[in-house]
Protein backbone atom coordinates (compact mmCIF):
# COMPACT_ATOMS: atom_id res chain seq x y z
CA UNK A 1 0.00 0.00 0.00
CA UNK A 2 1.26 3.45 -0.95
CA UNK A 3 0.57 6.47 1.16
CA UNK A 4 0.85 9.90 -0.45
CA UNK A 5 1.66 13.15 1.26
CA UNK A 6 1.17 16.44 -0.60
CA UNK A 7 3.86 19.05 -0.09
CA UNK A 8 2.97 22.73 -0.40
CA UNK A 9 6.18 24.31 0.86
CA UNK A 10 6.91 27.59 -0.87
CA UNK A 11 9.87 27.54 -3.25
CA UNK A 12 10.14 23.75 -3.12
CA UNK A 13 10.49 21.65 -6.26
CA UNK A 14 8.90 18.66 -4.53
CA UNK A 15 5.14 18.24 -4.68
CA UNK A 16 4.64 14.82 -3.17
CA UNK A 17 6.24 12.30 -0.83
CA UNK A 18 5.07 8.71 -1.21
CA UNK A 19 5.80 5.96 1.33
CA UNK A 20 5.39 2.41 0.07
CA UNK A 21 4.34 0.62 3.23
CA UNK A 22 4.87 -2.83 1.69
CA UNK A 23 8.54 -2.01 1.13
CA UNK A 24 9.17 -0.24 4.45
CA UNK A 25 10.97 -2.46 6.97
CA UNK A 26 11.10 0.10 9.75
CA UNK A 27 14.88 0.63 9.73
CA UNK A 28 14.16 4.27 10.65
CA UNK A 29 16.95 5.74 8.50
CA UNK A 30 14.50 8.38 7.27
CA UNK A 31 13.66 9.32 10.87
CA UNK A 32 17.34 9.69 11.67
CA UNK A 33 17.92 11.94 8.64
CA UNK A 34 14.73 13.99 8.90
CA UNK A 35 12.99 13.64 12.25
CA UNK A 36 10.80 16.65 11.47
CA UNK A 37 9.34 14.81 8.46
CA UNK A 38 9.11 11.16 9.47
CA UNK A 39 8.23 8.93 12.37
CA UNK A 40 7.49 5.23 12.72
CA UNK A 41 3.87 4.34 13.40
CA UNK A 42 2.45 1.54 15.55
CA UNK A 43 3.06 -0.98 12.78
CA UNK A 44 6.73 0.07 12.67
CA UNK A 45 6.25 1.69 9.26
CA UNK A 46 7.41 5.15 8.27
CA UNK A 47 4.77 7.86 8.09
CA UNK A 48 5.11 11.54 7.23
CA UNK A 49 4.23 13.83 10.13
CA UNK A 50 4.93 17.09 8.29
CA UNK A 51 5.61 17.12 4.52
CA UNK A 52 6.64 20.78 4.67
CA UNK A 53 9.12 20.67 7.53
CA UNK A 54 12.37 19.93 5.70
CA UNK A 55 14.35 21.34 2.78
CA UNK A 56 14.28 19.58 -0.61
CA UNK A 57 17.85 18.44 -0.03
CA UNK A 58 17.00 16.88 3.33
CA UNK A 59 13.97 15.10 1.84
CA UNK A 60 16.05 13.59 -0.93
CA UNK A 61 18.81 12.59 1.50
CA UNK A 62 16.21 10.87 3.69
CA UNK A 63 14.69 9.06 0.69
CA UNK A 64 18.14 7.93 -0.47
CA UNK A 65 18.95 6.62 3.01
CA UNK A 66 16.11 4.09 2.86
CA UNK A 67 17.52 0.56 2.47
CA UNK A 68 14.45 -0.65 0.58
CA UNK A 69 13.73 2.44 -1.54
CA UNK A 70 10.34 2.75 0.12
CA UNK A 71 10.28 6.55 -0.17
CA UNK A 72 9.38 8.02 -3.55
CA UNK A 73 9.83 11.70 -4.30
CA UNK A 74 7.72 13.46 -6.96
CA UNK A 75 8.48 16.94 -8.30
CA UNK A 76 6.15 19.77 -9.29
CA UNK A 77 5.83 18.39 -12.83
CA UNK A 78 4.64 15.05 -11.46
CA UNK A 79 7.99 13.54 -12.40
CA UNK A 80 9.55 10.96 -10.09
CA UNK A 81 12.94 12.29 -8.95
CA UNK A 82 13.81 9.40 -6.62
CA UNK A 83 14.36 6.53 -6.87
Amino acid sequence: MRKEYIRTKEGSNISKIIVDRDLCIGAASCVAVSAATYKLDDENKAVVIDPNAASDEELITAAKSCPTKAIIIIDKEEKQIYP
Binding site: A27, V31, V33, A35, L40, K64, T68
Partner: protein, 410 residues
Protein backbone atom coordinates in the same frame (compact mmCIF):
# COMPACT_ATOMS: atom_id res chain seq x y z
CA UNK B 1 46.32 -3.27 -17.25
CA UNK B 2 43.07 -1.63 -16.28
CA UNK B 3 43.37 1.79 -14.73
CA UNK B 4 40.69 3.79 -12.96
CA UNK B 5 40.81 7.25 -11.49
CA UNK B 6 38.47 6.05 -8.75
CA UNK B 7 38.57 2.46 -7.57
CA UNK B 8 36.19 1.27 -4.89
CA UNK B 9 36.56 -2.06 -3.15
CA UNK B 10 33.18 -3.14 -1.82
CA UNK B 11 29.88 -3.08 -3.68
CA UNK B 12 27.58 -2.61 -0.72
CA UNK B 13 25.68 0.53 0.11
CA UNK B 14 28.77 2.48 1.15
CA UNK B 15 30.84 1.78 -1.95
CA UNK B 16 27.86 2.21 -4.25
CA UNK B 17 26.86 5.53 -2.70
CA UNK B 18 30.46 6.71 -2.97
CA UNK B 19 30.54 5.82 -6.68
CA UNK B 20 27.27 7.64 -7.28
CA UNK B 21 28.51 10.71 -5.41
CA UNK B 22 31.79 10.75 -7.35
CA UNK B 23 29.90 10.46 -10.63
CA UNK B 24 27.72 13.43 -9.70
CA UNK B 25 30.74 15.71 -9.40
CA UNK B 26 33.03 14.11 -11.97
CA UNK B 27 31.14 13.13 -15.11
CA UNK B 28 34.01 11.78 -17.19
CA UNK B 29 36.59 9.96 -15.08
CA UNK B 30 36.71 6.20 -14.90
CA UNK B 31 35.04 4.72 -11.82
CA UNK B 32 34.98 1.03 -10.89
CA UNK B 33 33.62 -1.04 -8.04
CA UNK B 34 35.08 -4.41 -7.10
CA UNK B 35 32.39 -6.53 -5.48
CA UNK B 36 33.15 -9.88 -3.88
CA UNK B 37 29.63 -11.13 -4.49
CA UNK B 38 28.52 -11.79 -8.07
CA UNK B 39 25.68 -9.28 -7.74
CA UNK B 40 24.80 -5.65 -8.06
CA UNK B 41 24.21 -3.72 -4.82
CA UNK B 42 21.34 -5.02 -2.74
CA UNK B 43 19.66 -4.22 0.53
CA UNK B 44 21.67 -6.25 3.00
CA UNK B 45 19.52 -5.32 5.98
CA UNK B 46 16.53 -7.01 4.34
CA UNK B 47 18.27 -10.40 4.63
CA UNK B 48 17.33 -10.66 8.30
CA UNK B 49 13.80 -9.33 7.86
CA UNK B 50 10.78 -11.63 7.79
CA UNK B 51 9.63 -10.00 4.54
CA UNK B 52 12.50 -11.64 2.64
CA UNK B 53 11.34 -15.08 3.79
CA UNK B 54 7.67 -14.59 2.94
CA UNK B 55 6.37 -16.64 0.02
CA UNK B 56 4.83 -13.50 -1.45
CA UNK B 57 8.14 -11.60 -1.43
CA UNK B 58 9.20 -10.48 -4.87
CA UNK B 59 12.89 -11.15 -5.35
CA UNK B 60 13.36 -7.92 -7.29
CA UNK B 61 12.73 -5.85 -4.19
CA UNK B 62 16.16 -6.80 -2.85
CA UNK B 63 18.10 -4.88 -5.51
CA UNK B 64 19.34 -1.51 -4.39
CA UNK B 65 20.85 -0.97 -7.84
CA UNK B 66 20.14 -2.91 -11.04
CA UNK B 67 22.61 -3.54 -13.91
CA UNK B 68 21.07 -0.65 -15.93
CA UNK B 69 22.09 1.78 -13.26
CA UNK B 70 25.81 0.93 -13.60
CA UNK B 71 25.54 1.32 -17.36
CA UNK B 72 23.71 4.61 -17.14
CA UNK B 73 26.17 6.03 -14.61
CA UNK B 74 29.12 4.59 -16.52
CA UNK B 75 30.42 2.80 -13.43
CA UNK B 76 32.21 -0.47 -14.09
CA UNK B 77 31.16 -3.27 -11.77
CA UNK B 78 33.80 -5.96 -11.34
CA UNK B 79 31.62 -8.54 -9.61
CA UNK B 80 32.50 -11.92 -8.16
CA UNK B 81 36.16 -11.05 -7.60
CA UNK B 82 38.06 -10.45 -4.41
CA UNK B 83 40.84 -7.95 -3.78
CA UNK B 84 43.65 -9.85 -2.09
CA UNK B 85 46.59 -7.49 -2.19
CA UNK B 86 47.39 -3.81 -2.16
CA UNK B 87 50.55 -2.09 -3.34
CA UNK B 88 50.10 1.56 -2.50
CA UNK B 89 53.52 2.61 -3.82
CA UNK B 90 52.55 1.44 -7.28
CA UNK B 91 48.86 2.21 -6.60
CA UNK B 92 47.82 -1.31 -7.52
CA UNK B 93 45.11 -3.62 -6.28
CA UNK B 94 45.56 -7.30 -7.03
CA UNK B 95 42.54 -9.56 -7.43
CA UNK B 96 42.18 -13.23 -6.51
CA UNK B 97 42.54 -14.24 -10.18
CA UNK B 98 45.86 -12.41 -10.40
CA UNK B 99 44.57 -9.40 -12.30
CA UNK B 100 46.19 -6.10 -11.35
CA UNK B 101 44.20 -2.90 -11.35
CA UNK B 102 45.74 0.53 -11.13
CA UNK B 103 44.05 3.38 -9.29
CA UNK B 104 44.54 7.05 -8.57
CA UNK B 105 42.19 7.14 -5.61
CA UNK B 106 41.03 4.13 -3.66
CA UNK B 107 38.10 3.57 -1.32
CA UNK B 108 38.02 0.59 1.01
CA UNK B 109 34.35 -0.05 1.70
CA UNK B 110 34.81 -3.73 2.37
CA UNK B 111 32.21 -4.12 5.12
CA UNK B 112 32.59 -6.66 7.85
CA UNK B 113 32.39 -10.43 8.02
CA UNK B 114 30.26 -12.65 10.18
CA UNK B 115 32.41 -14.34 12.80
CA UNK B 116 32.99 -18.00 12.07
CA UNK B 117 31.43 -20.36 14.55
CA UNK B 118 34.10 -22.80 15.59
CA UNK B 119 33.13 -25.90 17.57
CA UNK B 120 33.71 -29.55 16.69
CA UNK B 121 31.23 -30.44 13.96
CA UNK B 122 30.48 -26.86 12.98
CA UNK B 123 31.49 -27.65 9.40
CA UNK B 124 28.44 -29.85 8.89
CA UNK B 125 25.66 -28.95 6.49
CA UNK B 126 22.53 -27.12 7.62
CA UNK B 127 24.59 -24.68 9.67
CA UNK B 128 24.01 -21.19 8.30
CA UNK B 129 25.89 -18.04 9.19
CA UNK B 130 23.97 -15.12 7.73
CA UNK B 131 26.01 -12.45 6.03
CA UNK B 132 25.25 -12.29 2.34
CA UNK B 133 22.51 -12.93 -0.18
CA UNK B 134 23.53 -16.52 -0.90
CA UNK B 135 23.49 -17.31 2.84
CA UNK B 136 19.99 -15.86 3.13
CA UNK B 137 18.74 -17.77 0.09
CA UNK B 138 20.12 -21.02 1.52
CA UNK B 139 18.33 -20.37 4.81
CA UNK B 140 15.14 -19.50 2.96
CA UNK B 141 15.32 -22.77 1.01
CA UNK B 142 15.74 -24.75 4.20
CA UNK B 143 13.02 -23.07 6.26
CA UNK B 144 9.93 -24.86 4.84
CA UNK B 145 11.26 -28.32 5.75
CA UNK B 146 13.08 -27.56 9.00
CA UNK B 147 11.53 -28.78 12.23
CA UNK B 148 13.96 -27.89 15.01
CA UNK B 149 16.29 -24.93 15.02
CA UNK B 150 19.11 -23.80 17.24
CA UNK B 151 20.01 -20.12 17.20
CA UNK B 152 23.30 -19.20 18.82
CA UNK B 153 24.14 -15.81 20.31
CA UNK B 154 22.21 -12.90 21.66
CA UNK B 155 22.63 -10.13 19.12
CA UNK B 156 19.97 -8.50 17.02
CA UNK B 157 20.42 -10.79 14.02
CA UNK B 158 19.63 -13.78 16.26
CA UNK B 159 16.56 -11.93 17.48
CA UNK B 160 15.37 -11.30 13.94
CA UNK B 161 16.13 -14.87 12.91
CA UNK B 162 14.16 -16.28 15.87
CA UNK B 163 11.17 -14.29 14.65
CA UNK B 164 11.55 -15.73 11.14
CA UNK B 165 12.03 -19.30 12.41
CA UNK B 166 8.88 -19.08 14.50
CA UNK B 167 7.01 -17.70 11.51
CA UNK B 168 7.74 -21.04 9.84
CA UNK B 169 6.54 -22.81 13.00
CA UNK B 170 9.98 -24.25 13.57
CA UNK B 171 10.73 -25.26 17.18
CA UNK B 172 13.41 -22.79 18.15
CA UNK B 173 15.98 -22.87 20.94
CA UNK B 174 18.22 -19.86 21.51
CA UNK B 175 21.53 -20.73 23.15
CA UNK B 176 23.18 -17.88 25.05
CA UNK B 177 26.56 -17.93 26.68
CA UNK B 178 25.52 -14.95 28.82
CA UNK B 179 23.26 -14.97 31.87
CA UNK B 180 20.59 -12.97 30.01
CA UNK B 181 19.81 -11.76 26.50
CA UNK B 182 22.32 -9.25 25.20
CA UNK B 183 24.43 -8.94 28.30
CA UNK B 184 26.08 -6.46 28.83
CA UNK B 185 24.63 -4.19 26.10
CA UNK B 186 21.32 -4.25 27.98
CA UNK B 187 20.66 -4.44 31.71
CA UNK B 188 18.82 -7.49 32.98
CA UNK B 189 15.55 -5.55 33.41
CA UNK B 190 15.78 -4.09 29.92
CA UNK B 191 16.58 -7.50 28.46
CA UNK B 192 13.50 -8.93 30.20
CA UNK B 193 11.25 -7.11 27.71
CA UNK B 194 12.99 -8.85 24.81
CA UNK B 195 13.14 -12.22 26.57
CA UNK B 196 9.45 -12.06 27.44
CA UNK B 197 8.58 -11.53 23.78
CA UNK B 198 10.78 -14.47 22.76
CA UNK B 199 9.27 -16.77 25.39
CA UNK B 200 5.71 -15.68 24.57
CA UNK B 201 6.40 -16.72 20.99
CA UNK B 202 7.67 -20.09 22.15
CA UNK B 203 11.38 -19.57 21.70
CA UNK B 204 13.20 -21.59 24.36
CA UNK B 205 16.07 -19.59 25.82
CA UNK B 206 19.01 -21.44 27.35
CA UNK B 207 21.16 -19.04 29.36
CA UNK B 208 24.71 -19.60 30.59
CA UNK B 209 24.90 -22.28 27.95
CA UNK B 210 27.47 -23.21 25.39
CA UNK B 211 27.50 -25.73 22.62
CA UNK B 212 30.37 -28.18 22.89
CA UNK B 213 29.79 -30.12 19.74
CA UNK B 214 27.53 -30.53 16.75
CA UNK B 215 26.56 -34.15 16.13
CA UNK B 216 25.30 -35.91 13.00
CA UNK B 217 26.72 -37.22 9.76
CA UNK B 218 26.99 -34.98 6.73
CA UNK B 219 24.16 -32.87 8.15
CA UNK B 220 23.82 -31.42 11.62
CA UNK B 221 21.37 -33.52 13.63
CA UNK B 222 21.83 -32.09 17.08
CA UNK B 223 24.08 -30.30 19.52
CA UNK B 224 25.61 -31.31 22.82
CA UNK B 225 25.80 -28.56 25.41
CA UNK B 226 28.58 -28.10 27.92
CA UNK B 227 26.47 -29.71 30.64
CA UNK B 228 25.95 -32.78 28.48
CA UNK B 229 22.38 -32.03 27.36
CA UNK B 230 21.66 -33.10 23.81
CA UNK B 231 19.20 -31.16 21.67
CA UNK B 232 18.03 -32.43 18.30
CA UNK B 233 17.98 -29.98 15.44
CA UNK B 234 18.03 -29.85 11.66
CA UNK B 235 19.11 -26.25 11.28
CA UNK B 236 21.61 -24.15 13.24
CA UNK B 237 21.97 -20.39 12.85
CA UNK B 238 24.96 -18.95 14.70
CA UNK B 239 24.92 -15.18 15.13
CA UNK B 240 27.96 -14.43 17.21
CA UNK B 241 29.05 -11.08 15.89
CA UNK B 242 31.37 -9.69 13.28
CA UNK B 243 35.12 -9.62 12.80
CA UNK B 244 37.30 -9.32 9.76
CA UNK B 245 40.81 -10.27 8.91
CA UNK B 246 42.51 -7.17 7.58
CA UNK B 247 45.89 -8.85 7.22
CA UNK B 248 46.15 -8.17 3.49
CA UNK B 249 45.92 -4.46 4.26
CA UNK B 250 48.18 -4.42 7.31
CA UNK B 251 51.22 -5.61 5.43
CA UNK B 252 51.43 -2.57 3.15
CA UNK B 253 51.32 -0.36 6.25
CA UNK B 254 47.70 0.64 6.50
CA UNK B 255 46.86 1.51 10.09
CA UNK B 256 44.21 -0.81 11.46
CA UNK B 257 42.70 -1.73 14.78
CA UNK B 258 39.42 -3.68 14.73
CA UNK B 259 38.66 -1.70 11.60
CA UNK B 260 40.63 0.54 9.24
CA UNK B 261 41.60 3.74 11.04
CA UNK B 262 40.54 7.01 9.45
CA UNK B 263 40.23 10.65 10.42
CA UNK B 264 36.95 12.58 10.23
CA UNK B 265 37.39 12.97 6.45
CA UNK B 266 37.51 9.17 6.21
CA UNK B 267 41.12 9.37 5.00
CA UNK B 268 43.41 6.54 6.06
CA UNK B 269 47.08 7.06 6.96
CA UNK B 270 48.07 6.32 3.34
CA UNK B 271 47.59 9.14 0.80
CA UNK B 272 44.76 8.64 -1.72
CA UNK B 273 43.16 5.82 0.27
CA UNK B 274 39.86 6.31 2.08
CA UNK B 275 37.70 3.90 4.10
CA UNK B 276 33.97 4.02 4.77
CA UNK B 277 31.11 1.98 6.18
CA UNK B 278 31.27 -0.96 8.58
CA UNK B 279 35.03 -1.35 8.18
CA UNK B 280 35.95 2.27 8.97
CA UNK B 281 37.06 3.01 12.50
CA UNK B 282 36.70 6.74 12.15
CA UNK B 283 37.24 9.83 14.22
CA UNK B 284 33.69 10.69 15.23
CA UNK B 285 33.44 14.44 15.76
CA UNK B 286 30.22 14.17 17.77
CA UNK B 287 31.24 11.31 20.03
CA UNK B 288 34.78 12.69 20.19
CA UNK B 289 36.36 9.29 19.85
CA UNK B 290 37.29 6.72 17.26
CA UNK B 291 34.38 4.38 16.63
CA UNK B 292 33.38 1.65 14.23
CA UNK B 293 29.64 1.47 13.59
CA UNK B 294 27.88 -1.31 11.73
CA UNK B 295 24.64 0.21 10.54
CA UNK B 296 23.15 0.90 7.13
CA UNK B 297 22.75 4.63 7.56
CA UNK B 298 26.33 5.06 8.76
CA UNK B 299 27.59 3.08 5.75
CA UNK B 300 25.44 5.00 3.30
CA UNK B 301 26.24 8.46 4.62
CA UNK B 302 29.95 7.72 4.94
CA UNK B 303 29.92 6.53 1.34
CA UNK B 304 28.55 9.92 0.37
CA UNK B 305 31.19 11.83 2.35
CA UNK B 306 34.04 9.61 1.13
CA UNK B 307 32.83 10.10 -2.46
CA UNK B 308 32.75 13.87 -2.07
CA UNK B 309 36.24 13.95 -0.59
CA UNK B 310 37.68 11.63 -3.22
CA UNK B 311 36.28 13.97 -5.85
CA UNK B 312 38.14 16.89 -4.31
CA UNK B 313 36.00 18.29 -1.48
CA UNK B 314 37.06 18.37 2.15
CA UNK B 315 33.96 17.50 4.11
CA UNK B 316 34.03 15.89 7.55
CA UNK B 317 31.62 13.09 8.40
CA UNK B 318 29.36 14.34 11.13
CA UNK B 319 26.13 12.53 11.86
CA UNK B 320 24.40 10.59 14.60
CA UNK B 321 23.37 7.36 12.94
CA UNK B 322 20.91 4.79 14.13
CA UNK B 323 19.34 1.52 13.16
CA UNK B 324 16.02 0.06 14.11
CA UNK B 325 14.68 -3.48 13.95
CA UNK B 326 11.49 -5.24 14.89
CA UNK B 327 10.62 -8.77 15.90
CA UNK B 328 7.70 -10.31 17.79
CA UNK B 329 6.23 -6.84 18.13
CA UNK B 330 9.31 -5.49 19.91
CA UNK B 331 11.15 -2.60 18.30
CA UNK B 332 14.81 -2.24 19.14
CA UNK B 333 16.74 0.79 18.03
CA UNK B 334 20.43 1.63 18.40
CA UNK B 335 21.72 5.15 18.23
CA UNK B 336 25.36 6.25 18.17
CA UNK B 337 27.85 4.27 20.23
CA UNK B 338 26.19 1.57 22.36
CA UNK B 339 29.27 -0.30 23.54
CA UNK B 340 29.11 -0.66 27.31
CA UNK B 341 32.77 0.19 27.93
CA UNK B 342 34.14 0.82 31.43
CA UNK B 343 34.31 4.60 31.01
CA UNK B 344 30.54 4.93 30.45
CA UNK B 345 27.65 5.23 32.84
CA UNK B 346 24.06 4.33 32.05
CA UNK B 347 20.76 6.07 32.51
CA UNK B 348 17.69 3.86 32.10
CA UNK B 349 14.33 5.37 31.33
CA UNK B 350 11.41 2.99 31.27
CA UNK B 351 9.89 0.21 33.29
CA UNK B 352 9.17 -3.48 33.20
CA UNK B 353 5.43 -2.74 33.36
CA UNK B 354 5.46 -0.46 30.33
CA UNK B 355 7.69 -2.97 28.47
CA UNK B 356 9.72 -0.08 27.20
CA UNK B 357 13.20 1.20 27.92
CA UNK B 358 15.70 3.65 26.64
CA UNK B 359 19.20 3.04 27.86
CA UNK B 360 21.35 6.15 27.51
CA UNK B 361 25.12 5.76 27.52
CA UNK B 362 26.96 8.65 29.08
CA UNK B 363 30.62 9.48 28.74
CA UNK B 364 32.30 12.59 30.19
CA UNK B 365 28.91 14.04 31.09
CA UNK B 366 27.45 13.72 27.59
CA UNK B 367 25.15 11.16 25.96
CA UNK B 368 27.03 9.22 23.29
CA UNK B 369 24.56 6.49 22.41
CA UNK B 370 21.36 4.69 23.31
CA UNK B 371 19.53 1.41 22.98
CA UNK B 372 15.82 2.06 22.68
CA UNK B 373 13.27 -0.71 23.21
CA UNK B 374 9.66 0.01 22.27
CA UNK B 375 10.23 3.76 22.60
CA UNK B 376 11.04 4.64 18.98
CA UNK B 377 9.22 8.00 19.22
CA UNK B 378 12.13 9.13 21.42
CA UNK B 379 14.69 8.35 18.71
CA UNK B 380 14.69 11.86 17.25
CA UNK B 381 15.05 13.59 20.61
CA UNK B 382 17.82 11.28 21.79
CA UNK B 383 19.72 11.68 18.49
CA UNK B 384 19.51 15.42 18.93
CA UNK B 385 20.81 15.28 22.51
CA UNK B 386 23.80 13.30 21.22
CA UNK B 387 24.39 15.61 18.25
CA UNK B 388 24.26 18.78 20.31
CA UNK B 389 26.64 17.52 23.04
CA UNK B 390 23.91 18.02 25.65
CA UNK B 391 25.39 18.19 29.17
CA UNK B 392 23.41 15.87 31.42
CA UNK B 393 24.57 17.49 34.67
CA UNK B 394 21.52 18.62 36.66
CA UNK B 395 19.18 16.69 34.32
CA UNK B 396 19.88 13.15 35.52
CA UNK B 397 16.49 12.78 37.24
CA UNK B 398 14.54 14.07 34.25
CA UNK B 399 16.40 11.78 31.88
CA UNK B 400 15.67 8.78 34.08
CA UNK B 401 11.97 9.63 34.32
CA UNK B 402 10.19 7.69 31.55
CA UNK B 403 7.29 10.14 31.58
CA UNK B 404 9.50 13.20 31.12
CA UNK B 405 9.27 14.63 27.59
CA UNK B 406 12.85 14.74 26.29
CA UNK B 407 11.97 17.50 23.85
CA UNK B 408 11.76 19.86 26.81
CA UNK B 409 15.52 19.80 27.34
CA UNK B 410 16.48 20.25 23.69
Amino acid sequence: MKKFKYLIIGGGVSGTTAAETIRNSDKDSLVAIINEEPYTAYSRVTLSKHEFYDKEWEEDKIWFRTPDWYLKENIELIAGKVAVNLDHDKKLVILNDGEEIEYEKLLLAIGSCAKKWMVPGSDKKNIFVLRNLDDAKAIRDKMPTAKNAIAVGGGFVSFEMCHILRQFNIDTTLVLRESYYWEPVLSEDEAAVVEEALIKNEVKILKNSEINEVVGGEFAEGVILKDGTKIDCDIIIPGIGVACSLNWLKSPGLETNRGILTNEYLETNIPDIWASGDVAEFNDLILEERVQLGNWLNAQQQGRVAGLNMAGKKEPFRMVTSYSTNGFGVTICFVGDVRPEADRTMISRGSLESKSWARLLVKDGEIIGATIINRTPELAAISKLIATDFKISGHEKELADPDFDLKKVI
